[in-house]
Every structure is written in structure tokens, then in C-alpha cells.
């Protein structure tokens, strides 16, 4: 069966990928952003997952309003980088895992999650803007992806609770996959920002920090909120946070947040949070004792251990 190692919540604003593409690592305006992703990059390099399953949103790049899917699962072997108006980013095409994705489609539909299916379409910054911060694309991507698009552009959006349930259904799909695979779940979007009207530029760091706390400690509370609450507290595009809920729903209740970073330079609050699952198989008593001691140390020390 596939094993879920943990999860990542991350913003996906295009300037994150833009900063990477322009080599802004040591630019003082951007260095804090890169620094915030370093522990995520190191964790992935150490854990070496085979597949990243993405909950993300398209930005009218892959899909248009003539048919905008609420939930849509990508089942391709390859995903080209979408042209969003100035030519595609110069990064390699993303590699899919069609065998796993087809299994997920079968599992989700039989679990009464009648998801749309797509293939042979490009992917936009909703996936790859943050991806290059923690998965080096050179010489090629370290592993494969399975993308799940969520509509956050055209209301009615799926409810926060439904996104959480989608995450749970994806967890069941992964745990029933017959082959051994190491998987990490990624939810992209947010945090506070608004990109329309006179209220554009709205941010709310107090709410963002509360969200980062609740997504780890009490995600059920977030599933009870309405889109209007997310939009009032975090701006219209703050509603993208429902994709973090799908990610969190795919993790076990015992998953622990071991790192987070927050940077708000311009219009979008750029956050990243890393969640780790406890070992999935019962460990020998000595190991359990070591873990119990470790859990009394700080999250940072545990991440480093």
C-alpha cells in the first residue's frame, strides 16, 4: 500500500516561482522566503517520497469557464508547463503517476466522490510556483505528481467541509493502492490576499497566524466556517485555504506540524507549513520510548533529529 509520510501546506502566488526563476535567493527582499522553504526541501530530500499528491487550483489556464470543474483529477504520464500569457516557465514538464492516479479515480468514484478526470493538459503555477522551492527541478524532478484541481475561482465553490472529506477519500484511495509507494500530500493557496476591487491588497496577519494554528491543532473548526468567513477574514482569494483543508483531511489526526514560515512582502501572505506523520508501523518498545522523549522536545529539535 502507499504510505503517507506527511503533508505540506503552501502559498502558490506566481511571484514565488518568479523569485526562483530570477535567482533571488540572496536578494534581501526575497531571502526570507527561500529560508522558510529550506526545512521543507531538506525533509523531502531525506524522506525521498515517490509521489506528491497536490490539491491545488487552476487559474483559468488549464480550464475555462465554459466548463470549470469543481474537483478534477489528473491522470497523465506527463504534464506540460502552462503558458499563462508570457510563455511557459523554463522548467521540465511534470511527471505524473498514471497507475496511481487511475487507482485513485476508481477508489474515489466507488467511494461516492464522482470526480472529473483530465489528461494531456498543461498545469499552471498553482502546482509549480511553490514546487521549485522544495523539489529541485534540475536535472529533472526527483519524483512524480498526481494533481487534483479544486475550483476556487467561480462560485459556488466546494464547501470547506467537502474539501476536508475529499482529503479523507484520497487518503482511503492511497492506503488501498496495492504497491508500496511513499507519498506526501500538498495543499496550495492562500494565505490572506484579495485580487479584485477597492479592497484589493487586503491582508490579515492575525487571521493567517490563527489559521496556521488551527490547521494543525483543530482543523475541524476550519471545516465549519463558510466561504464568506474566509473571504471576510482573509480576502476573497483567502478562500483558497480550503485546499489546505483537503491536504489536512488526507493526513491522520496524529500528524504533527514540524515547521512553518510566514512572509508578507507585497499583496499575498506567503506561508509554508510541514506536517509529519508518526511511523505507520508499530515500532519496538525501545523506539517508542525514544519517540516519547523526542516528543517532549521542541518541534524544531524533532525535525532535526
Amino acid at each position: 500500500m502507499a504510505r503517507i509520510l506527511g503533508g505540506i501546506g503552501t502559498s502558490h502566488v506566481p511571484t514565488i516561482g518568479g523569485a526562483y526563476d530570477r535567482g533571488k535567493q540572496s536578494d534581501p527582499d526575497w531571502a526570507p522566503l527561500f529560508k522558510g522553504y529550506e526545512p521543507v526541501k531538506a525533509w523531502l530530500a531525506e524522506r525521498r517520497p515517490d509521489v506528491l499528491v497536490f490539491f491545488y487550483n487552476d487559474h483559468a489556464s488549464t480550464f475555462f469557464f465554459d466548463h470549470y470543474p469543481t474537483f478534477a483529477l489528473g491522470v497523465s504520464r506527463t504534464y506540460e508547463i502552462a503558458d499563462e500569457g508570457s510563455g511557459p516557465r523554463r522548467i521540465p514538464p511534470l511527471e505524473g503517476h498514471p497507475e496511481l492516479a487511475r487507482h485513485m479515480a476508481d477508489s474515489l468514484v466507488n467511494d461516492e466522490f464522482d470526480i472529473s478526470i483530465w489528461q494531456d493538459l498543461p498545469i499552471d503555477h498553482g502546482v509549480h510556483s511553490p514546487l521549485t522551492m522544495f523539489w529541485p527541478p534540475a536535472p529533472d524532478w526527483p519524483g512524480k505528481i498526481v494533481p487534483i484541481e479544486i475550483n476556487v475561482l467561480q462560485h459556488p465553490l466546494p464547501t470547506p467541509l467537502r474539501c476536508w472529506k475529499l482529503g479523507q477519500a484520497v487518503r482511503r484511495a492511497l492506503l488501498s493502492y496495492p504497491e508500496d509507494l511513499q507519498v506526501v500530500i500538498v495543499g496550495t493557496g492562500g494565505l490572506s490576499h484579495q485580487m479584485n476591487g477597492e479592497r484589493a491588497g487586503f491582508n490579515n496577519e492575525i487571521w493567517d497566524r490563527k489559521f496556521l494554528d488551527l490547521i494543525a491543532r483543530d482543523p475541524k473548526k476550519l471545516t465549519a466556517m463558510r466561504h464568506a468567513d474566509y473571504m471576510r477574514l482573509g480576502g476573497t482569494e483567502g478562500a483558497e485555504e480550503i485546499m489546505w483543508l483537503a491536504m489536512r483531511g488526507a493526513l491522520s489526526p496524529r500528524a504533527k506540524k514540524i515547521h512553518q514560515s510566514y512572509y508578507l512582502p507585497m499583496t499575498t501572505a506567503m506561508a509554508v507549513a510541514l506536517f509529519e506523520e508518526p511511523a505507520s508501523h508499530p515500532a519496538p518498545k525501545s523506539a517508542r520510548l525514544r519517540r516519547a522523549k523526542a516528543s517532549r522536545r521542541s518541534p524544531r529539535a524533532r525535525a532535526a533529529a
Binding site: 477597492e198 473571504m231 507585497m266
Partner: protein, 119 residues
């Protein structure tokens, strides 16, 4: 009314992109979305009026696109994410668009930001 959106009508300066908006501005958004195709961008840069004719845009739609009247485009029903394609073609940054939505000059908007150089 979508119960998930109850209360958003009280948010000032906010335009919710729902099905009514989407239907109203479909032709314009389709035109903007088309700018993800290189040959359409070449047509747009080569002969703007011919591109407008081909998309059958109204006089007001043409004016807003020609003048990059960001605030009016959003009020009209353009999706921000379709406007982003137009901004890329015209070499306009997102902070400039946001300043436009707010009715501010870019430099005034940047004064309200924590790291004005992070563009």
C-alpha cells in the same frame, strides 16, 4: 443565494465572481483567456482592432481592454485570473493591477506594503 456567500455583500470594494458574473462577462473572459495562446498574442499585438472584431467585443469592452481600465474591468465581470493574462501581454505587474483596482498610483500602493521591492 449561495448560503456560503451570505455576508459577502457587506464587504466593500469586493466583487464576487459567481455564475451570474461569469455568464455576463463570458465573451470578454474568453478573449482574455485566449491570450495564453502565442498566436493570439501575436494577433493582439499586431492588430488590436482586428483581434477585437474577431472576438466580437462591444465598444465598452474594447475601451476597457485598450486603456487597461483595471477597476472598470473588474466591475464589469472580468475574472482577475483572465486579466492576469492581459497584464502579462502588456507587461503590467500584479502590484500595478492591484493599485489600479484601488484607484491608486503604483508608488502610493507600494508605500502601504512591507517590502516594496519584492516585485
Amino acid at each position: 443565494m449561495n448560503p456560503q456567500l451570505k455576508g459577502t455583500e457587506k464587504l466593500e470594494g469586493t466583487y464576487v465572481f459567481d455564475l451570474a458574473t461569469s455568464a455576463r462577462a463570458l465573451r470578454l473572459n474568453r478573449f482574455l483567456h485566449g491570450l495564453t495562446v502565442a498566436s493570439n498574442r501575436a494577433d493582439f499585438k499586431g492588430d488590436l482592432e482586428a483581434a477585437f472584431d474577431k472576438a466580437n467585443l462591444s465598444a465598452e469592452e474594447r475601451r476597457m481592454v485598450r486603456e487597461l481600465d483595471w477597476a472598470a474591468l473588474i466591475r464589469y465581470g472580468a475574472s482577475f485570473f483572465c486579466l492576469e493574462k492581459l497584464a502579462r501581454v502588456r507587461g503590467v505587474s500584479n502590484p500595478e493591477m492591484v493599485a489600479g483596482f484601488r484607484g491608486e498610483a503604483l508608488e502610493d500602493f507600494l508605500k502601504t506594503r512591507r517590502v516594496p521591492g519584492a516585485r
